[in-house]
Symmetry: C2
Subunit: 309 residues, 2 copies
């Protein structure tokens, strides 16, 4: 048994006017609760520190950059990192990253129990669009404000386990899961900000959107025999609802913990990394069963090519 | 609207002693029922014509070859093809194929409404093993009796739609779905023979196995915005239980029809091929969202490589 007690620290809404300091104070409340429940690792949402700003059209560079972090930890997040180090709890959190070179990414980091950053991931599958879209009920401008991640999908050794990261929309792409599965990942951690309403199909409804999120996470976990922890920023941000549904999924594809609210809420599970072994050695023993001689188009072409083309 | 009424013709068990002629008679009963319900296409299971023989260890070449078909249609299946042509119903069925060159495949064919074969698929992801396994509750010798399919995952134009095929265990591999998704597939049809018991983990239970099957089918359909029809051979074959759970899934990943029994049972759904458009043009618009520059390992390596390796 290689047990890691994982906490998913779902965050309720963060209003546009809310300060990072106020958000970090809420994060520390969840961290203290996680410590009481014996957590070794606490996972926070995508873009934890601010409202989901890609819903807003902005032209002013300074206005845009104000949503980004130039270093991590920084002044606002130092109290979180300090307290986590004292409690010997590892952290995963997402934030908007502005590099010294001036590049913008949707980023997530993973620390060990001493607070050292062991892994950084930059979101690869950016949803949405880059130009103003008059057809949508609201904007989703991740392709405007972020570059696609340039770090791939690495896994890192942390707490005697192979851990990997993705962010939000990456979960819908089986390629994200498989790239980590091919490195033996045992625990995939990530956050998301998912609008409760489909900006291009208002009638879809929250229930279907929660189903889609759970579906792809459970499938990705099962098909790669890995634990998965998916953590939402949820609730109403200045009139824009985000869905909750944070879950912890076992390597058999079953939900073992699930958030019940759209507010700040901690879910936890004791995750035995050795529970990944059965799947990896039987039905999903890639070395015996995958047939890469047929997989060429997956990497050779980006879009659809029908046979007539 | 491009509506195709699809029937999933789940078959109950076929005992070892049962003749192909008796099986075909049962298939025709389901075909007649499908005609009454307005079906344009009827999908039968994997290895429709016989018991699931890969559970038996056989050394004698003639005994093995007796489970295979040397041509399709042949004497035993001609009445099915004839009746389908009269009813103008297209067929999909699986069978064990022995080629003129002496190669053995787990094969599935698709006809148009005139009975002409428009597509052939040979199972790529063969589960199980090739040597006698004393650790298993029962054998699963697909790797002994079949070669891996050599035809890839093509799609074919049939009834004004892009149709693709897979077989059984292929459904658990997101690569199967994606390869067809990259060709614009709108309807994936396949059969399966899935033991109700995990031969390597007896306590798993039927409910979890049905969940896994539905999970990967719904995920594959959603992630590629395609209809999917999955048809079981089910029930007790000479003491070896196979699970049912045949389903039709919409391009949004929702089950729209589901078998209730483990016997011969027809499920049907009116499938609008244009219902695939929304997903293909928005969240799963591959051309806009896939990032193949990171996908290399999916085709470059078969098995797991951890970072230390």
């Amino acid at each position: 048994m290689r047990e890691i007690t994982v906490g998913g620290a779902q965050m309720g809404p963060i209003q546009k006017a809310e300060s990072r300091e106020a958000v970090v104070a809420r994060m520390i409340v969840l961290l203290e609760a996680a410590a009481k429940r014996g957590c070794d690792l606490v996972v926070y949402p995508e873009l934890t520190l601010t409202t989901f700003f890609p819903r807003y059209w902005m032209d002013d560079e300074a206005e845009i950059d104000a949503w980004f972090e130039r270093e991590m930890p920084n002044g606002a997040t130092k109290p979180l990192f300090d307290r986590a180090r004292e409690l010997e709890i590892a952290l995963c959190l997402g934030y908007a990253e502005l590099t010294p070179e001036g590049d913008h990414y949707n980023t997530q980091i993973l620390t060990d129990r001493t607070g050292a950053i062991v892994g950084k991931y930059r979101k690869v599958h950016l949803p949405g669009h880059s130009e103003y879209d008059t057809e949508r009920a609201f904007q989703h401008l991740e392709k405007k404000y972020f570059l696609p991640g340039d770090l791939g999908f690495p896994v890192w050794r942390n707490m005697d386990a192979w851990m990997g990261m993705m962010i939000c929309n990456d979960r819908r792409w089986p390629e994200s899961w498989r790239l980590m599965g091919l490195q033996g990942v045992e625990l995939v951690v990530f956050g998301y900000n998912t609008p409760s309403v489909n900006s291009q199909m208002g009638g879809e409804g929250l229930e279907k959107r929660l189903y889609h999120s759970e579906l792809v996470i459970c499938a990705g976990a099962y098909q790669n025999a890995t634990w998965a922890v998916a953590v939402a920023k949820a609730g109403d941000e200045d009139g824009h609802p985000l869905m909750g549904g944070s879950i912890i999924v076992d390597p058999n594809g079953f939900v073992v913990a699930k958030a019940q609210t759209e507010g700040d809420e901690l879910i936890t599970a004791v995750c035995d990394m050795d529970a990944t072994v059965f799947g990896k050695e039987t039905i999903f023993d890639f070395a015996r069963h995958r047939r890469i001689e047929h997989y060429g188009p997956i990497t050779a072409q980006t879009g659809v090519k029908t046979p007539e083309a």
